[in-house]
Amino acid sequence: MRQRRVVTALAIPLVLAFVAASCGSDSSTETGTDTTTEENTETETTDGGPAVTAAPEEVQTSVVEETETAVYGGTVTIGLESEATGLRPWEDSCSSPCYHIMRSIYDPLMEQIGDGGYGPFLAESLSSNDDFTVWTMTLRPDVTFHNGTALTAQTIADMFPLQQAGAAGSSIISASNLTGVAALDELTVEYTLSKPTVAFPATLAGAPVGFPFDPAAAAADSAGYSTNPIGTGPFVMVSRDIDNETVVERNPDYWFTDVDGNQLPFLDSISFRPIPDEGTRLDALISGTTNAAQSLRQGTIRDAREASGIELIEFQGNVTGGGMYNTDIAPYDDVRVRSGLSRMNDQERVIEALGGTGISLPTTQFFSADSVWWTQEAADAYQTFDFEAAKALLQEYIDDPARSDGKAPGEKIDVELSCPPDPTLIAAMQVIEQVWTGSELVNVSLTQFDQATHINNAVSDTHKAHCWRWGGEGDPSAPVNPFVAPAVDSVANFTNFDDPEMLAWSLEASATDDFELRKELYGKIMIRINELALTWYSGGTAVMIAHAPGIKGFNTWTLPDGTLGTGIAPEAQARWFQVFITE
């Protein structure tokens, strides 16, 4: 049995007090993202993960080093919130549960690292020309697919036509401005882009474009590839019983040997079980039916915290709940109405209704307070709860003879708020409704549609005041640029508000690799969004992987060069190559 020492790190800090300060508290003037404090380094951790029972006022450390002994062998059975619809990177849309499986089969060309940047994984290097329109990638040598085929630059070039035609690939290719892929030699690939795109490395870290597959096998049997995928990853598909169980086992020829000389992966096999019911998934873990589970729900995290015999790794990243207004429709086209309604959003009460007290932290922008992209200026610009100020704004609109909704001065404003029919969302919606109605200036109607219809309404611009979730763990260009792009071109400009300045800032941020400048530009966009009250926020979306005590490594994986990865970010996704079982 081989062993290694693992540097355990708490990669994702929960800077709770800091966030509280950023959300209107007057207790702190601390700014920035580096809030590690020496006096807190004794905070209890599990496998390097954040302490799960931390009180909200505690400040936790960003890095805690421990040693663990990695052991070969064993099987992890993990309960996922849903089944992967398919396992073809170029074709199938992939969400968090799907990525759990895909990451066991496929390797990314690039991978996100702890500081928010990207490092090479299957790639050995990636560089661009001066204007970020041509990217040159050198592949790692001696990497083979599960079927023995070598991964070469020509493989990447041959993947491109399939990706262009694929449902998942074509959209990402379009969004990343990718127009051509060419093999320059055995291991050198050249990507050509139609516009400067500094965030292109992020594209190579995701499934549609960044997960190499065998193009010949894929072209021969596309449908079959979904059930029998072939990647270069740490595990090989054994069986796929859709909606029931997907089993993968160790790839004996895996290319990755870690910086300590350990041949990866450690586990013998992984069993993925879709268990859609949150309660059952947690019960399955507690009872030993499974030995790991993921969840993107605060209520489940709360229940898991109270359960005994399991450990949690929690993460609250750059995804936040809240809502938005469709500025194409009156009265939401008037900033006084939007501001008035937003200033009646009592975040603490909404978070409580969502079941997130002590778990989810109030947010003020697309980025959480521990993100390198978060700015104090944007936080200051957020229109926090102020009932009287909100009433004054709404009253001003009501008394305006030229009010945009066509009603007579003095008449109440009609507002329609819509959320999906999730019990916690309904409770949160009712909290907002109570405050709005309590102003005696607003007639509120609540509507609920299933998730698919809810999204559909936003995409088709029939929404009004609409519950929504913002952000993402990748480069900020992914969530922000489409949001500020011209509404006529971008389905993701859900508020339908066209602002030339925001558009210009987003384009400028896409064409420079100056981090400080990019941060400033995205910060300006966040400030503008807050000033215009295009969106409102509740709290960050907390996610977790809960597991039996003996399972380690979810939060401590590293890139081939030893750089610390991003733990379970984004969306409670595991990187299986360095997970191991000690007991």
């Binding site: 089944e83 596309s222 859709i242 029931n244 268990i275 859609p276 309660g279 999204i455």
Partner: protein, 315 residues
């Protein structure tokens, strides 16, 4: 008799036609554009919307789409899922045994418990066994099956650790392993069925026990158990048979929540996933299949009536 069978079969086809039409109509009336739902909020490649619209024939008039789909459906071609790329018929074929097993087990359990409980209630009418069984029936009817399922998970998986909380082992994994994962879903579904069946048996049995031939059997000195199970049970089971048939058909489509709760990969599990993803052809295929099974089973029950009841046969 032949005329009656012909009528029943004619009614079957008319009902199936109505079911397919209404299902197709309801799916077509779902709010929102299916293309938007399929593509979601992410970036869109040029032409992708038109391609999906073309693939799904969404630009064709409703009746053209319906006739085209129906023409393929009668040949067994229910289309291919746009999300998973799997033929809908294959999805149904792989899921049906799971759902049918759960439905069969729950019906079997319900009947096995309901008959003695119902017979006992009728035999001891007004006495404590009747009172206790009636109370149990009330409880069984009152508890939603998913609540009972949650309780069973808590008790047998979390507290006692006797059975898995979820997962599904197929027959190929061994019968014992299969039963370990199927028993809790089946029991969850059986509770309400059992309560309903036992109430039905009790009331029918009470009526039967008042018949003259039962009185003569008693006068002959036959034992109570012989009278109850040999003379009274069969004529008291016609209503039960009807409701068992209907229940089995209903369970094929009614296991949706329980399948989701226990992560059982049956028809209901797939249907929920398809609804969430607006996988139109899968929604249509599974819904029509479930409805068709329901109608066919009821037709079989109608035909069996004639076999079991001489009065109907004579008509």
């Amino acid at each position: 008799m032949a005329k009656r069978i012909a009528f029943i079969l004619l009614r079957l086809f008319a009902t199936l036609f109505a079911v397919t039409f209404l299902t197709f109509l309801m799916v077509a009336l779902l709010p929102g554009d299916p293309v938007d739902t399929i593509l979601g909020t992410g970036p869109r490649a040029p032409g992708i919307e038109e391609q999906i619209r073309d693939d799904l024939n969404l630009d064709d008039p409703f009746f053209v789409r319906y006739v085209s789909w129906l023409g393929n459906a009668v040949t067994g071609d229910l289309g291919t899922s746009y999300i998973t790329d799997q033929p809908v018929a294959d999805t149904i074929q792989s899921r049906l045994p799971v759902t049918a097993q759960i439905a069969f087990m729950s019906i079997f359990l319900a009947v096995a418990i309901a008959i003695p409980v119902g017979v006992l209630g009728a035999y001891k009418q007004g006495k404590w066994p009747d009172t206790v069984s009636s109370a149990g029936v009330q409880v069984g009817l009152s508890i939603p099956n998913f609540v009972f399922g949650i309780f069973l998970i808590w008790l047998f998986a979390v507290q006692l650790n006797w059975l898995p909380a979820s997962n599904w082992n197929r027959f190929s994994d061994g019968i014992v392993d299969n039963l370990k994962t199927s028993i809790l879903p089946a029991v969850s579904l059986a509770l309400a069925q059992m309560a309903l069946f036992s109430r039905l048996v009790r009331s029918d049995m009470m009526a039967t026990l008042r018949e003259n031939y039962i009185l003569s059997a008693r006068a002959k000195g036959l034992s109570d158990s012989y009278i109850l199970f040999r003379h009274a049970l069969r004529p008291s089971s016609l209503s039960l048979m009807t409701i068992v048939g209907i229940s089995f058909g209903a369970l094929l489509g009614g296991t949706v929540i329980i399948e989701s709760l226990f992560a059982v990969p049956g028809l209901g599990f797939s249907l929920i996933a398809a609804i969430n993803g607006r996988d139109i052809l899968v929604i249509q295929g599974i819904t029509v299949f479930i409805a068709a099974m329901f109608v066919i089973i009821n037709t079989i029950v109608d035909l069996l009536y004639a076999v079991l009841d001489p009065r109907i046969r004579r008509k």
